[in-house]
């Protein structure tokens, strides 16, 4: 039985179709990378998998069960930005999921129990290389460090399904390569299933065990906006027999405009 089972999934916003009859079966442990032009519904698809949005038609099953109607801890998420909490330090960002679990009412622990949590997450902080920065706030971290923190935070609840929405889109190429190593390592260790939306076709080939492309079925329709997107290519990637990791040049898809904030040293401001 497949782990993620998508059947005849459609999404319409006010009669404008976004996704049109998407079918997909993904076995547990797969690393699915999703590419497609801007506005083709790939982020919508991710939001559906997260239950942040509801489909107009069709069903998504996770491990044989219907998806719950709200986001739950069995599905982790990392966004391109705003994934971590700006008012908490690195350590506190990682302690938060454990506090939520153990202090059911207000989600806050004090004193010795809190100190015990700090020890508990020390290993994870070490793992993502933020030990020296553990008492800094996200605004004081580089983009790459913030995303490492976001990934670590999402993994603390040990989700079976991890959703990544262009997580490395705002990072320098060098930093991006480091992040690829990190996410592949974490994926191999945990055996979780990953869905990752990306604009970088090289990244999609490099990381995925399966690459799916979202596109409109017909481009020559009389009214292109009346046609929703669906999966037009579904490529299994046999990494072992294929090209060694890193040989495919990382070229961004040209429809993504250059973003001046794509800079490892840039420190996006805290919304104030």
């Amino acid at each position: 039985m497949s782990f993620v089972e998508v059947t005849e999934l459609s999404v319409r916003y006010d009669d404008t179709p976004v996704l049109d009859r998407v079918n997909l079966d993904v076995e547990e442990g797969a690393f699915v990378t999703i590419v497609g032009a801007s506005g083709c519904g790939k982020s919508t698809f991710l939001r559906l998998l997260l239950s942040e949005e509801e489909p107009s038609d069709g069903v998504i099953r996770l491990a044989g069960k219907h998806l719950p109607s709200t986001p739950t801890p069995d599905r982790g998420i990392v966004f391109q930005r705003y994934s971590v909490f700006p008012h908490l330090t690195v350590a506190d960002n990682l302690i938060l999921p454990l506090e939520i679990e153990r202090a059911r009412l207000f989600g806050r622990l004090y004193g010795a129990r809190r100190r015990a949590l700090r020890d508990e997450v020390a290993g994870m902080i070490e793992r993502i290389g933020l030990t020296a920065a553990r008492n800094r706030y996200p605004a004081q971290l580089s983009g790459g460090m913030q995303q490492r923190l976001a990934i670590a935070q999402a993994l603390l609840k040990k989700p079976r399904l991890l959703l990544l929405d262009e997580p490395f889109g705002a990072l320098d190429p060098g930093i991006r390569r480091d992040m690829h190593e990190l996410i592949l390592d974490l994926w191999r260790e945990s055996g979780m299933t990953i869905f990752m939306v990306t604009h970088d076709i090289g990244e999609a080939f490099k990381l995925g065990t399966r690459l799916i492309v979202f596109d409109k079925r017909k481009h020559d329709a009389p009214d292109p906006s009346a046609v929703g997107a669906t999966i037009t290519y579904d490529l299994p990637l046999h990494r072992k027999q294929g090209l060694p990791i890193g040989i495919i040049p990382e070229t961004p898809v040209p429809d993504e405009p250059a973003n001046p904030t794509k800079n490892e040293t840039a420190k996006p401001g805290v919304p104030s």
Binding site: P71, Y82, H87, L96, E101, G107, A139, S272
Partner: protein
């Protein structure tokens, strides 16, 4: 180097900042000097000396009839009214602001109402307050509350709405309940905005305080100014105005300092006043 990018030293910054104040004092002193040349007992522009000695007297010598040190008793009474009013307004603003910003249903119900209330010129309802709450402390405090709570509520509701959707979704995936989300994600990010809202609310709050005290009161900074106005006692009024300004400035600075101290994360990028 263009004038807009030229850096200045800290000493120059203080000197330049003090310049307009010094200029004001000098202009006043000259004006006062010439008026008193014509009429030595001129009341309109008393000399700096007279004002200083009057102010000193009010601060250090008890008033013969009541035995009060007028400056301090006035200050205490006014600050108490201001503090209680702002405290109540801030509590209302946090409660309603979170409801409006966080829950779409509450927003639909309350946002238009709060917006409408915030447009009532508060002074126009001062007579109503006097009639309903009497001439005591309550009506003065209520004027400050009604004058500041709606705008503070709106700015806090906006601050809650400005919390990126991603953070709320992320908290849900971490298993947070609504209450946990309110206490760990929403409220902690609201406190620096609350301090900003209080700093902005204090500006109208002072106006309402002085107005209410001027109309019906037996003590307070506004009361004193409007009382001695009858005797053209500019040597009391002018120092009192300066004193009120100084108090307002210090309150603002203290709040700004507290925000930086307590919510360092909110002041990491960009400059702020």
């Amino acid at each position: 180097m263009s004038a807009s990018s030229r850096k200045i030293t800290p000493a120059a910054r203080i000197g330049l900042g003090a310049l307009p104040f010094a200029l004001l004092v000098v202009v006043y002193a000259i004006g006062s000097h010439f008026r008193r040349l014509e009429n030595p007992s001129d009341k309109l522009l008393p000399s700096l000396d007279t004002m200083a000695s009057t102010f000193w007297r009010m601060a250090t010598r008890p008033e013969p009839r009541s035995g009060d040190y007028l400056l301090w008793s006035d200050t205490l009474v006014s600050l108490a009214r201001l503090g209680v009013g702002i405290l109540i307004a801030a509590s209302i603003a946090v409660f309603l602001g979170v409801l409006i910003g966080y829950l779409p249903r509450a927003r639909a119900t309350l946002a238009p109402f709060v917006a409408a209330i915030s447009l009532i010129p508060p002074i126009t309802i001062l007579p109503i307050l006097f009639i309903v709450f009497g001439l005591g402390e309550l009506s003065k405090v209520m004027l400050i509350v009604i004058g500041t709570a709606p705008i503070m509520t709106r700015s806090l509701a906006q601050a809650v709405m400005d919390i990126p959707r991603e953070q709320i979704v992320k908290a849900e995936t971490l298993g947070a309940s609504s209450l946990q989300m309110a206490f760990r994600v929403v409220l902690p990010q609201l406190w620096p905005h609350l301090i900003t809202a209080i700093r902005l609310g204090l500006v109208p709050a002072w106006i309402f305080l002085i107005s209410a005290e001027a109309i019906a009161s037996t003590g307070g900074l506004g009361y004193r100014i409007f009382l001695v106005r009858r005797y053209l006692a500019m040597d009391v009024i002018l120092p009192y105005v300066a004193w009120i300004t100084l108090l307002a400035y210090l309150l603002d600075r203290i709040l700004s300092f507290l925000s930086r101290r307590l919510f360092r994360w909110a002041h990491l990028s960009g400059e702020s006043l």
